[in-house]
Symmetry: C2
């Protein structure tokens, strides 16, 4: 048996088209353009290229984009002043603080200075906490509106658009980062999966992975998860994006895994393709909330 490939690219394209229509309607109705502000301090190459990718998607989707780049030598106070300006700016609906920040600038201080209402990447503790506290789907949420980090939100979207049953299933999340592993675990819990979180200290990782009906990998180690770690018929969501020689691979050994899994995301072209459109979705949502206030 060979797994269905959960190709993120056509799905991202579909969502981008849906969003373009919604954005156009929004602009007509409310007379302003949902816009993101990207804050960068220094010129980390990965941050530079990610910002360019955001710009391209936002402009293509008819949404606003502003880059606020401070020099590497900027002080924490300067970054805080910029964030305060962006919080107050009614034409900015979403803010992203690019990491890494230079030494001497405390990420948690900058992130907490952002208005949670503009934290479209879901990294402010208030948003992380609302996701941690939200009731399961179908019950009153019990928390205020919140944002979920774009990458795990994209992983969940892939599962939902392929009608993968989540409720009551065993999900295993390998990796506990704040932008992938932990929010993915909380999203799956919100969807009523029974969720196990694994990490570098986990013993018998292979056996635990084999328990998973839904296996999510977000560790950043090339092909670490082997084919025989996967339960036959499992659904595999690979958030990894690692350079191996001259190609990019995921955290899962794709060629071996596809022979065992029922569905699997490829790398590249899987979850990574979804991140940008999920971010756009969050910015449109932030603009909607502002319009409703």
């Amino acid at each position: 048996m060979s797994a269905t490939i959960l190709d993120g690219r056509p799905l991202a394209k579909t969502i981008a088209e849906e969003l373009a229509t919604e954005v156009a309607e929004f602009k007509q109705k409310h007379g302003f353009t949902p816009a993101i502000a990207v804050v960068r301090v220094g010129e980390d190459p990965a941050s530079v290229s990610y910002a360019k990718m955001i710009q391209k998607s936002f402009e293509k989707g008819g949404m606003g984009f502003g880059l606020h780049a401070l020099p590497e030598a900027a002080s924490e106070a300067e970054v805080l002043a910029l964030v305060a300006d962006l919080n107050a700016d009614e034409d900015v609906h979403g803010i992203i603080i690019q990491e890494p920040l230079p030494k001497g600038i405390r990420p948690e201080v900058i992130v907490e200075a952002m208005s949670p209402d503009k934290d479209v990447d879901g990294v402010h503790p208030a948003n992380a906490g609302r996701l941690a506290q939200v009731a399961p789907v179908g019950r009153p949420p019990g928390v205020s509106d919140y944002f979920v980090p774009a990458t795990p939100a994209g992983g969940l979207e892939i599962l939902k658009r392929h009608n993968v049953e989540i409720k009551g299933e065993r999900a295993v999340v390998v990796g506990r980062s704040n932008i992938v592993g932990k929010p993915m675990a909380l999203l799956l819990l919100r969807e009523d999966a029974t969720v196990t979180v694994c990490h570098s200290r986990t013993a018998n990782l292979d056996a635990i992975c084999r328990e998973a009906d839904i296996l999510c990998a977000g560790v950043g180690r090339a092909q670490m998860i082997k084919g025989d770690w996967i339960k036959p018929g499992a659904v595999v969501i690979d958030f990894g994006f690692n350079q191996l020689g001259d190609k990019w691979v995921g955290d899962v050994d794709f060629e071996a895994a596809r022979e065992v899994a029922s569905m699997i995301t490829p790398v590249p072209g899987g979850t990574g393709s979804m991140t940008n459109v999920m971010l756009m979705k969050n910015v449109l949502e932030a603009a909607r909330r502002q319009a409703a206030r």
Copy 2:
């Protein structure tokens, strides 16, 4: 084999004595008394008796206590005004909002109105989020100071004071409430356990419980977890407190479980005994942070 009984009462007494000494030193050094404000709307009997218990422990420990009881008919605006007063009051270091709140008062609005710096019960999303985002022990936390809900903090304290190995162990938490299950899961993850969260939609709950080296129950169903659901030698932390006929029992069938487990908390006298002292610890910590500002 019969399990070691993890009696919370002598441990709570020890911690209360440690705290009384620390509080006396704090008062001498800083010239003010760490104090809690309890907010209640209406006269829910369980809330009334819990407030009395808090008062007794705080007064015994040399700490300040104030009850702010509003009538059942109070409006949300009145409750918010009270919370704003308490946020601004320098003589108040910790605030607890007792739930349930009367209909028409949105708990999430009241809770989010509290200053996270005074949220000694760890229920504000900013505190829940910092716990969700904190790095594992031994690494730079990456988040601001935070508070953990007293009940799971007490459960962890029991494990630590009995030198239970947590790192790399499999922990299963049954129940996903915001004041017990989810924060306990995040605490165990912070301590490097491999953590599974189970709940009402979990299939094969008995088999999953049997995977646990550390089994934590916080579901509120009398003796739901049977003796043969427990892995021989496991450590069992029971957060349940359920009336069964004329006695109080936990979520675990204690008599059966003690024959299988290596350690187990009794009910009553286990985790419940720890909650108050952990709350006192949080209030002292809040006062320390105020003194340091």
